[in-house]
């Protein structure tokens, strides 16, 4: 579980995140939603340690990262798997080399053991025959799946996904969502997904945090979200004319 308490983040004196307090539960897909520029990516980057925080605390299973030294912080980082928006696969490496990379850097596994682990991870994302391909030879969906395989290679406790569906067609988006959901259940990870895709919210959003203008505006589950009386959240959900028509029919 990850707990965020009274988190503030400033850029050049401008408040980007303001008094964010929330929880991300273990074994669940915790979604952070919000429109572009709302601060959800900054929140995600604070959680994965790419940005320092200015005020507040982040607890990873009751371990406060703000009070940790560099070594302890690095140990927490090794418990994380991160799926970046564009996949962030290393261009100069093959799929096999990308997935084996964290194992090479942080484990003393033998070549055979590493090979078995990579085979398992690639099998898990249904890419058994992609070992020797390079990122430039993969489609958008395949890149995301390889990135997921790399993220789970080291058995993460926390899985972070930044806009996992961006640039993907609706069918592939659902496949990626389902894959993340299955992995969360199977490995009992605390999964945090940054998205503005309402399909994802409805498909896999066990908990949903809505960020608006740098503040946590609403928190609940995907079952509750359509019944919300929060005006800003409603405007976000029913942004398209098609969705507005459905909403008017419902009400």
């Amino acid at each position: 579980m990850i707990q965020v308490e009274h988190l503030y983040k400033y850029f050049s004196g401008r408040e980007v995140l303001s008094d964010i307090s929330t929880e991300f539960e273990q074994g669940k897909c915790n979604l952070i939603i919000g429109q572009s520029g709302s601060g959800k990516t900054v929140l995600m980057k604070c959680l994965i340690g790419l940005y320092g925080i200015d005020k507040g605390s982040i607890f990873y299973d009751r371990r406060n990262i703000a009070q940790m030294g560099k070594k302890e912080r690095n140990l927490i980082l090794r418990e994380m798997g991160v799926l970046f928006q564009g996949g962030a696969l290393f261009d100069s490496m093959s799929v096999y080399e990308n997935v084996v990379f964290p194992l090479t850097m942080f484990s003393d596994l033998s070549l055979v053991q590493k090979r078995e682990r990579v085979d398992f991870c690639l099998q898990r994302v249904r890419l058994e025959k992609a070992h020797d391909l390079y990122p430039s030879q993969l489609s958008g969906g395949m890149k995301k799946r390889v990135a997921i395989a790399r993220a789970i290679a080291f058995n993460p406790k926390y899985l972070f996904c930044d806009e996992p569906n961006s640039g993907l067609d609706p069918k592939t988006s659902i496949i990626i969502d389902q894959l993340i959901y299955e992995i969360t259940q199977e490995f009992n990870t605390t999964t945090i997904i940054n998205t503005h895709d309402m399909n994802s919210v409805m498909e896999i959003g066990d908990t949903v945090s809505f960020i608006y203008e740098g503040k946590l505006w609403w928190r609940g589950s995907n079952a509750q979200i359509l019944q919300t009386d929060n005006e800003e959240l409603r405007q976000f959900i029913y942004a398209s004319r098609f969705a507005q028509e459905i909403y008017q029919k419902r009400t």
């Binding site: 994965i48 340690g49 790419l50 912080r73 690095n74 140990l75 980082l77 090794r78 994380m80 991160v82 970046f84 928006q85 564009g86 962030a88 696969l89 290393f90 261009d91 990379f101 964290p102 090479t104 850097m105 942080f106 972070f160």
Partner: protein, 246 residues
């Protein structure tokens, strides 16, 4: 003020770069790959430039010293000094600043804008050291070797001019090459090349690493890396020449 800020940023980055690699075996693998990509891949073009420059230098020197008062072996002596002291260490390094510098800056810049560097950081890897240190060490090892090869080939280029034209008799040219030879000159040239290699790779790595944005910014970073490392290289050339020969 902006320059001071850049220097400060560079020093801070270098403090991160020069730290112990996380895994030595992986560092050695990266080093070999970088020596191959940055050093071996430059060999052919360095060889071509050196042969032709050596030939041109010999023709030019012959033309400028056409006088019964100047012995013919002087051509060999002047060509050797020019090649050993300036052409091979400085001009070849300037050329390498263009070739290697843009390659390093665009590679690291692309990794930055496509979040590959963020991916390394979130794994708990010091991305600056992981990416830039092997390139600095590779250049520091490979560039002096390239420069030694360049020296031999430039002098050989001059010799070919002597063989195929009537500029200077070949034996006189060789006489000139071996006259007043000081081993110090070679050490000086190699030391200069070593310093230039560190300047080229670290400044290019710095510009690549601070890239923000997209493809356009990667291109800009690549240009800045070449210009920045060339200017600093020329500045250090003056300083080192003054210290060691002045």
């Amino acid at each position: 003020m902006k320059t001071l800020h850049l220097v400060g940023e560079y020093i801070l980055l270098m403090r991160r770069v020069f730290s112990k690699p996380l895994k030595m075996s992986y560092f050695r693998k990266q080093l070999v790959e970088n020596i191959s990509a940055l050093g071996l891949d430059s060999l052919l073009i360095v060889a071509i430039i050196s042969i032709f420059m050596g030939a041109v230098l010999t023709i030019q020197t012959t033309l400028q010293t056409e006088s019964p008062w100047i012995p013919a072996w002087t051509v060999g002596f002047v060509v050797r000094q020019s090649v050993v002291l300036e052409f091979s260490p400085t001009i070849v390094s300037l050329f390498l600043a263009g070739k290697i510098g843009s390659s390093i800056a665009s590679e690291i810049g692309t990794m930055k804008v496509t979040e590959q560097i963020d991916a390394l950081e979130t794994m708990g890897i010091n991305s600056a050291s992981h990416l830039i240190l092997p390139k600095i060490v590779a250049c520091a090892l490979a560039n002096p070797v390239l420069v030694v090869i360049s020296m031999f080939l430039a002098l050989a280029g001059g010799f070919m001019v002597c063989v195929f034209t009537t500029a200077v008799p070949p034996l006189q040219y060789i006489d000139g090459l071996t006259s007043f030879f000081k081993t110090f000159d070679i050490y000086y040239a190699l030391f200069k090349t070593f310093v230039f290699a560190i300047i080229i790779s670290s400044i290019s790595g710095f510009y690549g690493y601070r890239t923000e944005g997209g493809a356009l910014e990667v291109g800009k970073a690549s240009t800045q890396a070449v210009v920045g490392s060339s200017v600093i290289l020329l500045l250090f050339n003056v300083i080192l020449t003054k210290i060691f020969l002045g």
